[in-house]
C-alpha cells in the first residue's frame, strides 16, 4: 500500500498539475496567484524560479508569458491508496444519498482487486446519539438530492417543514450548505430566507438576510422554484454576524488532567487560551447562539474543573442551573 505522507500529494506537485490543466500559456502574475492560493506562504520564493528552463523546465518563457511544455490533457491517475479510500466510502450508509445501487456496483467494479481502506465495523462511535437520520428513506434521499442541486445552481426552493412541536411551516429558502453532524449522524440545511421585496439577487442584497438551520429529517416536501441568484451569500459572514456573542470566558483548573481534556474537547471552537498561574488557565471560547445550550452542558460536564467567569449571560445560565439543583 502506498504511503500517506508522500511527495505525490505535495502541494507543489498539485499546483503545477493544476496550472498545466488551466492553460498552456500563462502570465507570471497568474502563476503567482495560483501558487499563493494552493501552496504555503513561503512557497512562492522557492517554486517560481524552478518552473522555467533554469529549474525543472516545465515552462518556457516567451513574450513575457510562460508556455507549458506539458500536454494540455495531462492527468495524474489515482494511487491505490486513493482508490481504496473510494472503496471504503462506498460501504458507508450515507453513500446512497449520492449514488444508486447500480452506480455503487459499477464504481466498485472499476476498482476491482483493491481492498477498502477501512470497513464501517472498524470504528465504534461510542457516544453517538441514537436518533440518526434515516438515509434509506426514499423521501429523505429525494429531498437531499434536490437541495444539493439547488445549492449548486444557486436556486431557491419551496420547503414544507414540520417543526419540533409538529407545526407545519411553508417557506422559500436559498440553500447555501448542508451541514453534517458526526455526533448526531444527521444533516441540517443552512439556508437564507427569501424576502418578497428582494431583487433577483435577493439573498445577497436583501435586507439583513439571516441564516436558518433546518433539520433535513423534518422536511416534508421540497420543490425547486427556477428562481436563481448569481452568487450565494457569504455564509460565514452571515453566521458570524448574526450569531456570535461575546465569548465565554472560563478558568480551567488543571486537576484530573482537566486542561488536556478541555483543550481537546473545545478544539473545534474558535478559542484562545493563556496561562494565569501554575495550574490555572483562562480560555475564551467563541460560540453562536445556536450552540449555547450545547456549550453550556459541555462546560457543566467538567464539574468544578471549569469555572465560567463571563460573559454575564452565560454566567447567569450556569448559576440558574446550580441554584435549581440546590433547591431540589
Amino acid at each position: 500500500m502506498a504511503e500517506l505522507f508522500s511527495e505525490v500529494y505535495n502541494c507543489y506537485f498539485q499546483v503545477i498539475k493544476s496550472l498545466t490543466e488551466k492553460k498552456s500559456r500563462i502570465s507570471e502574475r497568474e502563476v503567482n496567484f495560483h501558487i499563493k492560493n494552493t501552496c504555503f506562504e513561503e512557497s512562492i520564493l522557492y517554486l517560481l524560479p524552478k518552473l522555467t528552463e533554469q529549474g525543472w523546465g516545465f515552462y518556457e518563457k516567451q513574450d513575457g508569458f510562460l508556455h507549458s511544455r506539458l500536454s494540455e490533457d495531462f492527468y495524474v491517475p489515482l494511487t491505490d491508496l486513493q482508490k481504496s479510500y473510494i472503496k471504503a466510502i462506498l460501504l458507508d450508509d450515507k453513500i446512497t444519498l449520492f449514488l444508486n445501487e447500480e452506480e455503487i456496483e459499477a464504481i466498485g467494479r472499476a476498482f476491482s482487486g483493491i481492498e477498502p481502506l477501512y470497513l464501517p465495523d472498524d470504528f465504534y462511535y461510542y457516544d453517538r446519539f441514537s436518533d440518526k437520520d434515516d438515509y434509506k428513506d426514499p423521501d429523505y434521499r429525494k429531498h437531499f438530492r434536490t437541495i444539493l442541486s439547488a445549492i449548486q445552481n444557486h436556486e431557491y426552493v419551496d420547503i414544507l417543514y414540520e417543526s419540533r412541536f409538529h407545526r407545519r411551516l411553508h417557506h422559500s429558502y436559498l440553500p447555501c450548505r448542508l451541514e453534517y453532524s458526526i455526533k448526531n449522524d444527521r444533516f441540517r440545511l443552512l439556508a437564507v430566507e427569501f424576502h418578497a421585496n428582494s431583487d433577483s439577487d435577493g439573498a445577497r442584497t436583501g435586507c439583513n438576510p439571516r441564516v436558518i438551520t433546518l433539520n433535513l429529517c423534518r422536511i416534508r416536501e421540497v420543490k425547486l422554484t427556477s428562481r436563481t441568484v448569481k452568487q450565494l451569500p457569504d455564509i460565514n459572514h452571515l453566521l458570524k454576524r448574526s450569531c456570535y456573542h461575546e465569548p465565554v470566558r472560563i478558568l480551567i483548573r488543571n486537576r484530573r488532567n482537566a486542561l488536556e481534556r478541555a483543550m481537546l474537547q473545545f478544539a473545534n471552537y474558535e478559542k484562545s487560551t493563556r496561562k494565569l498561574d501554575e495550574d490555572t488557565y483562562e480560555c475564551l471560547i467563541y460560540y453562536s447562539k445556536e450552540n449555547e445550550t450545547e456549550l453550556l452542558i459541555e462546560i457543566l460536564s467538567f464539574g468544578p474543573m471549569i469555572k465560567v467567569v463571563g460573559n454575564e449571560t452565560f454566567l447567569r445560565l450556569i448559576k440558574e442551573r446550580l441554584k435549581r439543583q440546590a433547591a431540589l
Binding site: 511527495e7 498539485q14 489515482l78 466510502i89 449514488l99 441514537s130 451541514e179 453534517y180 483543550m263 469555572k307
Partner: protein, 417 residues
C-alpha cells in the same frame, strides 16, 4: 546555520508540534520543553507558512509566562476542509522526483506501453532532460506499486502505461464527486479524499461539518498501519508516550477496533491483551509508532467477544475499581412531562439503551448497567438543575457527584448550599 526549508522529510516530529500548537495554543517559546530555541523558531516559522490565515499571535506579559505565544484558531463549522490536511502536503522531494513525475506521466499519456529505456530516450528528445535509465525504471516501478502506472511483461520487455483517468469515472457518476466533498471532511482518513480533490481539481462548495475534531488527522499515519494489521488479523507492537505524564511505554496486543468519542475528541485503539486475557483502550494520540507482528489465529472469536462486551461499556472502560463485573446506575430526574419532552428525548438518544420510567408526576428514573459507573459522571453532570438523586452499586459515584456539586456551588456563590 542551515537554510530554512518549509518542506519536511518525516511526519512524526511535525505531528507533535502541530498538535501542541493546535490543541494547547498557550505555550510560549520557553514552555516548549525538549526543543532548542533554533528548533522552536524553525518549527514555528514552518507552521506559520503551512497554516497561514489560521495562525494567531498574542503577547503575554505576566511573570514567568511572559513572551509571545502563537496558536491555531479554527472554528470547524466555518470551513470547507480541514486546514490541518496541509501538513500532509509538505513532504520534501528531490529535483529528479518532481521532473520524473511530470515528464514520465506526460510521456506515457502521449505514447502508452513504453519500456523504461524508451521513456528515458523520450525524456531527452521531448523535454531535453537526460536521466539514467535505472533511475527512470526505479521511478516507474515505484509508481506501478503505488497504482499510478500499470506494468505488463511482454516477452522480455516490461511495458508501463498510465492507469485510467479518474475524471472519466466521475463524469459517468457525478454523485461520486459530491460524495467525496462530504467524506473528505467527515470520514476516517479524510485526508485521502482531500488528495483526490487535489488530483482531480475540485473543491467542496456543498458541505459543512459539525462536531469534527480536525486534530485527529495527525494520527492518520498510525491509524493506517493499525487498520492494515486489523485487516490482516495480526498483533501489533506499539511505542507509546503517555498523554498525562509524557512517559515512554511499550505494549503489545491484538488491535480490534477504533473507539471514537464524538463529544470529547478522544479516539482510542481497542486492544486485546492475550497475556492478561482482557480488553484495553489506548489513546490514539499516545501511539508514536506501530510494528505489525504475528498472525493471531483467534482473531474472529475475540472480535465477537468485544462486540458483545462493548454494549456494556459506557465509554472505553471494561472494568471498575470495585471488582464488580458491572455496576448499576439509577438517576432520578425532575422533568416537566408537558413542556420538557426534549429532556426525555435526550435521555433516550444519549442514554445507550438505559431504561426510562415515570415514577411520579414530573419525576422520571433512568437506569443502566455498565462496566464502569464512574465513566458516566460527566454525562450525569449535564443534567444539573434537575437531578433528584444519583444511586449506584458503585459507592463512589453518588459521593463524587455530590462533592463536585458542592464545590461548584461554593465556587460560584462563595457559600455552601
Amino acid at each position: 546555520m542551515s537554510e530554512f526549508k518549509e518542506l519536511i522529510k518525516s511526519f512524526s516530529k511535525s505531528r507533535e508540534y502541530v498538535r501542541d500548537f493546535f490543541v494547547y495554543g498557550f505555550k510560549t517559546r520557553d514552555e516548549f520543553g525538549g526543543w532548542s530555541s533554533r528548533t522552536y523558531d524553525n518549527e514555528r516559522r514552518r507552521l506559520e507558512s503551512w497554516l497561514a490565515g489560521y495562525v494567531r499571535q498574542e503577547y503575554i506579559g505576566r511573570g514567568k509566562t511572559k513572551g509571545k505565544n502563537i496558536y491555531l484558531s479554527i472554528d470547524s463549522n466555518l470551513l470547507n476542509t480541514n486546514p490541518l490536511y496541509r501538513v500532509w502536503k509538505a513532504k520534501s522531494f528531490t529535483d529528479n522526483d518532481i521532473m520524473l513525475h511530470f515528464y514520465i506521466l506526460d510521456c506515457l499519456r502521449k505514447s502508452p506501453d513504453q519500456t523504461a529505456d524508451a521513456i528515458t530516450d523520450r525524456l531527452l528528445e521531448g523535454y531535453g532532460r537526460m536521466f539514467d535509465s535505472q533511475i527512470v525504471r526505479r521511478k516507474c516501478n515505484q509508481y506501478a506499486t503505488e497504482g499510478i502506472l500499470t506494468k505488463e511483461k511482454r516477452g522480455k520487455e516490461v511495458l508501463y502505461r498510465l492507469s485510467p483517468p479518474f475524471q472519466k469515472l466521475l463524469a459517468a457518476h457525478p454523485g461520486l464527486k459530491n460524495a467525496i466533498k462530504l467524506y473528505q471532511l467527515s470520514s476516517p482518513l479524510g485526508i485521502v479524499g482531500n488528495t483526490i480533490m487535489d488530483t482531480v481539481s475540485f473543491h467542496n462548495d456543498l458541505f459543512r461539518i459539525k462536531h469534527n475534531f480536525f486534530v485527529h488527522t495527525l494520527e492518520d499515519e498510525v491509524l493506517l498501519s493499525i487498520l492494515q494489521a486489523m485487516h490482516a488479523h495480526r498483533t501489533v507492537f506499539l511505542n507509546l508516550k503517555s498523554t498525562k505524564s509524557e512517559r515512554l511505554l511499550e505494549t503489545e496486543g491484538v488491535p480490534l477496533k477504533i473507539f471514537t468519542s464524538t463529544r470529547t475528541g478522544r479516539r482510542y485503539l481497542c486492544l486485546y491483551l492475550p497475556d492478561k486475557k482482557r480488553f484495553t483502550n489506548i489513546r490514539m494520540d499516545a501511539v508514536k509508532s506501530v510494528k505489525t507482528e504475528e498472525l493471531y489465529p483467534e482473531y474472529e472469536a475475540i472480535r465477537e467477544q468485544l462486540e458483545r462486551n462493548k454494549e456494556s461499556a459506557w465509554g472505553v472502560s471494561f472494568q471498575n475499581d470495585n471488582r464488580h463485573h458491572s455496576e448499576r446506575v439509577k438517576l432520578t430526574l425532575h422533568i416537566d412531562e408537558h413542556s420538557e419532552q426534549y429532556i426525555l428525548n435526550r435521555l433516550q438518544r444519549e442514554g445507550k439503551g438505559g431504561v426510562i420510567r415515570q415514577t411520579a408526576p414530573d419525576t422520571f428514573t433512568y437506569e443502566a448497567e455498565v462496566f464502569d459507573a464512574n465513566e458516566m459522571l460527566p454525562w450525569i453532570r449535564t443534567f444539573i438543575g434537575r437531578i433528584l438523586s444519583v444511586e449506584s452499586t458503585s459507592p463512589q459515584l453518588a459521593q463524587r457527584f455530590q462533592r463536585d456539586f458542592l464545590t461548584m456551588y461554593h465556587m460560584y456563590f462563595g457559600e455552601s448550599c
